[in-house]
Every structure is written in structure tokens, then in C-alpha cells.
Amino acid sequence: MPEATAPTDDGSGVQIDLISGERMDGLASMEKIRIILDGVHDGNIVILEEGLTPDEESRLIEVTMSEIDPDGFNGIEIETYPQNDARDKSLLGRLMGQEDTAKLTVIGPANQIETLHKDETLISALVSRK
């Protein structure tokens, strides 16, 4: 799989990485978390086509906390569409071994991204430069 080319960062813009589900498939949880947090540390906005599992979200919070530094990185802003599926449906899916976690997820540095509006079909965010 080709690696993303290093951007030329002259501070004039905000890099957005849209990561396909295919690219994340087959990666271990910590590899996914590393991709996300490395991007966010660089001031990028990371958009995941298929999101993370609840367990990966829990680990993302834990690793994010361990990397917060009062002199720099102060955490992440993360947004997904709220799940409005009937829970019975997902429980059935889980019983059938089809845990449906596919949900577009936007992650960015807490000091650069602000959610303006979120509902079941729209996430509107304001992104500022570093």
C-alpha cells in the first residue's frame, strides 16, 4: 500500500486526510490509533470512512490522555454521527458476528476544530489553522 506523501507545510492551510475503510482493514487497533494520533499531532484533520470499534475508541481516549502535554498537545476533538439504530438490530448483528461500526468519523486537534452542529445526518465543524 503506498504511503501518503509528506506535505509541504508552510502553515498556510490545514491538511485533511480522508482514510478509506480499505486502508484501515487489517491494521491492528494500535496501528489505527497511531495513524490517527500521528496525523492529529501534525495538526491534520483525520476523517475515517468507517470509524473505530467501541474498544478502539476506548483505547484512543486512553492513548490520547497519555500524550497530552500542557506545553503543546491538549487532546482531540472527535465526532461521529449519533447512532439512531434500534439497539435490537445491532445486538442481532453482534450475535451474527456482524458488528456494524461503519460510521464516518472526524478527528482533529482539540485546539483547531470546533463542532458547530451535529445531528444524525450532518456534522458541521469549524477548522482553524495551527
Binding site: P54, E57, S58, I61, T64, I68, N74, I76
Partner: protein, 213 residues
């Protein structure tokens, strides 16, 4: 035969110990910062043991270590339920030490509090994955419940198939909107309460006994 009978009896005893309903379940009190988790933990502990769990404060991240109060025996309808109450630090995805400066804190103290807060949140997540048998999720009913942290945490709790009760706290405040809390997580039972004023605690204890007994 005597040997077999003895073996069977000892296996039964071991199984009984493993699955005994008398074993206290560890119930984690989770939620965002400043929802009133420690106030609730203290209310429960004081009502049934006479002791408090930890200090309460209006400054976010007052609780920066998970604290456990063991063997809290709650009596309901002639039965008793024993739980361990685990008060956890408020979960968030960001901590900025500068927000503590607004509470007249010196910069060194704010930085230290922020470092401890991040460790506390990581610890709370670890407890959730490894060490709790059920969850009381506390929300401030005056605040918007539709936040990403709430959505993620409820999702994490559901994925682990842990029993969960949503507590809509601070109903003593005028801005409280318990209907909004109920509609945010309709798949779970929401119990309104004021941990500070002790309002609706009878229903709180009924539900704790029903869900975690």
C-alpha cells in the same frame, strides 16, 4: 464413593463461590466531568455506610483517581444488595490546563492538575475495560446530553454488555431537562435525581438493587 462425593462437594463449593450472588459487584460511576459523580458516590456511601468516598468540587477534574468504596450494602424490600462503588474521574478527550486558571489557580497547580486529570481519565477507561461489572452513567440534566463523549462511552459500555443505568442528576436546578436526557439514550432507563439534595433517592436505590443485585 466417598472420594467422589467429597470431590463433587468441593467443586460445588468452588462453583458457588465463583458465581455467588453474594459477591459484591463492582459498579463504576461514569460520566463527563462535573456531572456530580462524586456527589452521588458520597450520597450512596453516606446513606449506607456513614463514610464519604472523596472530596466534591465545582472545579472540573476534582476526582483524578478512581476510588472504591467496598461492601456498600443497600437494603430494598426486605432484601439486601452488596456492591462496591467505584467513583471514576470524568471522561473527556481533551484537557487544557488553562481552563483551570479561570478558577483562580496558580499556573503550576493548573499544570499539575491537568497532568493528574489525564492520568485519571486513562485509568477510568482501563477500569471500564477490565474491572467493572456494571455502570451508573451520570449526566448533568441541565447540559446537552448529545455529546460525542457520552455517545462513545455508552457505545463502549454496550459493546461490553455491561448493565447500565442512566442517572439524570441536578434535577434541583431550574434548567434541568430530564426529558432531553431520556431521549438521548432511549434504549436505557433514565432515573432523575439530585445527589446534592437527596431528591428521588428511593427510586435510585430501587433501580440499583434491580439492575445490579
Amino acid at each position: 464413593m466417598g472420594l467422589l462425593t467429597g470431590l463433587k462437594a468441593s467443586i460445588t463449593r468452588a462453583t458457588d463461590r465463583l458465581f455467588s450472588e453474594q459477591d459484591p459487584k463492582r459498579i463504576g460511576i461514569y460520566g463527563p466531568p462535573n456531572a456530580g459523580k462524586t456527589t452521588l458516590a458520597n450520597r450512596i456511601a453516606r446513606d449506607w455506610t456513614g463514610d464519604a468516598v472523596g472530596p466534591e468540587s465545582h472545579i472540573p477534574h476534582e476526582t483524578r483517581r478512581a476510588r472504591r468504596k467496598e461492601d456498600v450494602e443497600i437494603e430494598r424490600n426486605g432484601k439486601s444488595v452488596t456492591i462496591d462503588v467505584v467513583d471514576t474521574p470524568g471522561v473527556t478527550t481533551k484537557v487544557d490546563y488553562e481552563e483551570f486558571l479561570d478558577f483562580d489557580m496558580e499556573e503550576d497547580d493548573a499544570v499539575r492538575r491537568s497532568r493528574e486529570a489525564t492520568e485519571g481519565v486513562a485509568e477510568a477507561m482501563h477500569w471500564l475495560r477490565e474491572d467493572v461489572d456494571g455502570v451508573i452513567y451520570v449526566l448533568d440534566s441541565t447540559e446537552d446530553p448529545f455529546t460525542q463523549v457520552n455517545t462513545m462511552l455508552i457505545g463502549i459500555i454496550e459493546s461490553r454488555d455491561l448493565p447500565v443505568l442512566i442517572f439524570g442528576n441536578k434535577i434541583d436546578l431550574e434548567e434541568s431537562n430530564i426529558q432531553r436526557v431520556s431521549s438521548a439514550f432511549p434504549q436505557h432507563e433514565t432515573v432523575p435525581l439530585s445527589a446534592l439534595e437527596g431528591e428521588n433517592m428511593d427510586e435510585v436505590y430501587d433501580k440499583i438493587a434491580e439492575y445490579f443485585g
